[in-house]
């Protein structure tokens, strides 16, 4: 497959592993050939270590998954010391997903990563629904989204991707705001807000009530939002939301995505990204008929 350029970043192929679904790569190293991926977007990294939310943290829905993880991660210092060197050894572009509870948080994490060896790009997480402050609060207000993007832009020379929330009235407005503030690319969608209810007790299942929905169930929403954003900005778009097959990826390319990310499908099988890549290779070599009979992985 042909390499794909995202602003200053060149990916060996257009299929990434999506943030939050692939850990720090090492969890999947025994089970799939990481070096063949277009890139790995890490689990969200915050300045301080975070414990994450109390269980339950995941609930399955028809063809979907609700999660309330809450940015559990070892913090930037441990990431730099332990996780990043191992990740960098796989020879695959590393995009670090940066998260914070305040504008200053995003800035100090981004600044430290700017000269960290082995980081190919940053993805700003301003769209997580599972934390009380920061996260989606920045990603649902165009002014806030622009401010945090501009502030991070000032402290990094790395390719800057901003991950957008689908939980807005008009995602094109958000995309324009971060484009004007200096983003190099946008990625979408993060999870849709939802909840799970226990019919026996009449109580919400998640302690924070709200959770984020991902998986094949959200694909039509994601496709349309990618379509809208691709027509609103000239920046490259990384499309994601329920991709499990090469056919799904082709649909996102057709909607205007320059690259795609595979997320929840990684939980079904550890080689989900690789299967999408191999499907796209067959498509490139043999045309559409190569994917006609493809089964769901």
């Amino acid at each position: 497959m042909k390499p794909v350029r995202l602003a200053g970043l060149t990916l060996p192929n257009p299929v990434l592993a999506a943030s939050g679904t692939f850990g720090f790569g090492e969890e999947y190293a025994p089970w799939t050939a990481l070096s063949r991926l277009g890139g790995i977007v890490t689990k969200s990294v915050t300045w301080d270590p975070l414990e994450g939310n109390p269980p339950p943290r995941v609930v399955e829905t028809p063809a979907g998954l609700l999660n309330s993880i809450g940015w559990q991660n070892p913090g930037l210092a441990v990431f730099l010391r332990e996780k990043l060197p191992r990740l960098a050894a796989y020879g695959v572009p590393i995009i670090v997903n940066v998260a914070g509870f305040s504008l200053e948080d995003y800035v100090r994490v981004a600044a430290r990563l700017d000269d960290a060896p082995g980081v190919a790009a940053l993805e700003l997480n301003i769209s997580c629904p599972n934390v009380d402050e920061g996260g989606m609060a920045f990603g649902t207000d165009p002014r806030q989204a622009g401010l945090v993007t501009a502030a991070v832009r000032r402290v990094t020379r790395l390719t800057l991707v901003v991950k957008l929330s689908p939980n807005v009235t008009d995602i094109a407005v958000m995309a324009r705001a971060v484009a004007e503030a200096g983003a190099d690319a946008v990625s979408l969608i993060n999870t849709l807000v939802g909840m799970a209810m226990d019919w026996r007790t009449g109580r919400p299942i998640f302690q924070r009530v709200v959770a984020g929905l991902s998986g094949p169930a959200v694909k039509p929403v994601a496709l349309y939002q990618v379509w809208q954003v691709a027509r609103a900005v000239t920046l490259p778009v990384i499309g994601m939301g329920g991709i499990t097959t090469a056919r799904d990826a082709l649909e996102f390319f057709a909607a205007g995505a320059a690259a795609v990310a595979v997320g929840t499908a990684n939980f079904r099988r550890p080689d989900a990204c690789l299967r999408v890549i191999e499907g796209l290779e067959r498509y490139d070599a043999e045309g559409p008929q190569a994917l006609e009979g493809e089964e769901e992985p």
Binding site: T21, E27, W31, P54, P55, A63, N67
Partner: protein, 260 residues
């Protein structure tokens, strides 16, 4: 570093048995898993062929036969995934990954095995391993009613003494299985290995702490990836933070985790 032979693969069902009105034992031809599995580890199975159910389901290894090359699971039908799995018959194929996770550490001493309901599943494999090592484990097994205790014959075949308890008094002690544990620990202090509902495990933790014997508990939690990537199957650690049931467990020293 790749371990493709234990990665997701299609395996054939070679045995199926309805053990009680709502639980089924399946045996798979999976020689790599049979050789690699340690008691307490789990197999991560797809429970369907479409996008719903979306995720795999974890099942403890119930028994292995490394000579014939088979592994077994024992499970209760609780939802759409386990209902699909219960309809598999010899000749059908299932997508199996593993064994995954950390199992029981086998301590010196004969050992008390404590099970609640279908939590007995990993303890048969453990009992067999303990016997191979020359230990003489005993099983304390509680369930809601006697129909759920049918698999007791498998332990008797291994020569494992069994004491039973039921919530409705239809078999053995009328009350929780932890009553039996409290009684035996006052006599023979031996390492405890437990699997069952959280309230049972919490009581096991209390009793073994009082008796100053080591206890390991096998936990169940809603799980997605199975390899520590998604952080979905969190269990509070005593003293703060969370452990991941799939990656740090599913077996933990009882004093390491909050069982409340």
């Amino acid at each position: 570093m790749l371990s493709p032979s234990l990665g997701p693969r299609l395996v054939s069902v070679v045995g199926r048995q309805e053990v009680s009105p709502d639980s089924v034992r399946l045996r798979f031809a999976a020689p790599e898993a049979a050789s690699a599995a340690q008691p307490g580890q789990f197999l991560h199975l797809r429970c369907g062929t479409s996008l719903d159910p979306l995720l795999r389901r974890p099942f403890s290894v119930h028994a292995v036969d490394p000579v014939v090359g088979t592994v077994s699971i024992l499970f209760r039908v609780v939802g759409a995934g386990t209902a699909w799995l219960a309809r598999r018959h010899p000749g059908d194929v299932v997508d199996l990954w593993g064994p995954l996770g950390r199992g029981f550490v086998l301590h010196p001493g004969d050992g008390w095995l404590v099970a609640g309901g279908v939590g007995v599943a990993p303890l048969l494999f453990l009992a067999a391993r303990l016997r191979e090592q020359g230990a003489a484990p005993q099983l304390l097994w509680g369930a809601r009613r006697r129909q759920e205790l049918a698999a007791v014959a498998d332990f008797e075949h291994l020569g494992i003494p069994v004491e039973l308890a039921t919530d409705d008094g239809s078999e053995g002690h009328h009350g929780p299985v932890t009553d039996l544990l409290a009684e035996v620990l006052s006599g023979r202090r031996a390492p405890v290995y437990a699997c069952g509902p959280r309230p049972m495990l919490r009581r096991v933790g209390e009793l073994t702490r009082q008796a100053a014997v080591t206890a390991q508990v096998s936990l169940e939690e809603r799980m997605a990836c199975g390899v520590g990537a998604c952080q979905g199957c969190a269990c509070p650690r005593r003293g703060g933070g969370y452990a991941l049931v799939c990656h740090d467990g599913p077996v933990f020293p009882a004093e390491e985790v909050e069982l409340g």
